[in-house]
Amino acid sequence: MKIQIKLFAAARELSDRGEIEMEVDDGIQVGELKIKISGEYPKLKDLILRSAVSLNREFATDDNVICEHDEIALIPPVSGG
């Protein structure tokens, strides 16, 4: 299936884009996705190690399974306030 992953802040700047698209296997888990992004976008690797992933605007754990129309984002450590 084809998925889009939103990128913000340092992730957006390092990859020079606000969203990336990827072809992944059905049933892929969040942890596997992180590894896959790191492989295809080596510049993001260090940051991904410290980042969370959100599914449908809720923080996900590495064993959460991604579904086709999930809204997916990479969430670097936040620094609001």
């Binding site: 939103k6 913000f8 802040a9 340092a10 957006r12 700047e13 940051l47 410290r50 980042s51 969370a52 959100s54 605007r57 809720e58 923080f59 754990t61 984002a73 969430i75 670097p76 450590p77 936040v78 620094s79 609001g80 306030g81």
Partner: protein, 153 residues
Amino acid sequence: MISITNESIDTLKVLESVKSDLAGASVLFVGSTRQFTGDKETVRLEYECYQTMAVEKIQQLIDLASTKWEITRCSVVHRIGIVGLGESSIAVAVSTAHRKASFEAAAWLVDELKIQVPIWKKELWASGETEWVHPSGTVRPIPINFDNPQEGS
């Protein structure tokens, strides 16, 4: 009131949004761009956010705070985009019947917002360098098992 805005924050409006005859105490926290961090000088900050998730997360935090303290009203406003020296990036207002709860709830909301809400800050240093501020540690998801509610007091 929850708002994420490109405009400068009207702090008086935020404070007034929590007014109520039922409240005896209101606490307003305002975070603003500080010139010095140690001996490093900031020129300005720039904030970016994941808007829809940020609003949902702030609402969750307010809901959770409302289980911990008896909150009369609560507002959170965060500015995004460029925020110059001395300008406000965040305003959090809480009103409660008694003052202890308003201080505690406002401090807790600011603490948690800085951990849970997808907003990011980029420093422009006087040296010309820019830096996305990524505090050590990773993003911590919001706890699903609520703590034992404390009494508002």
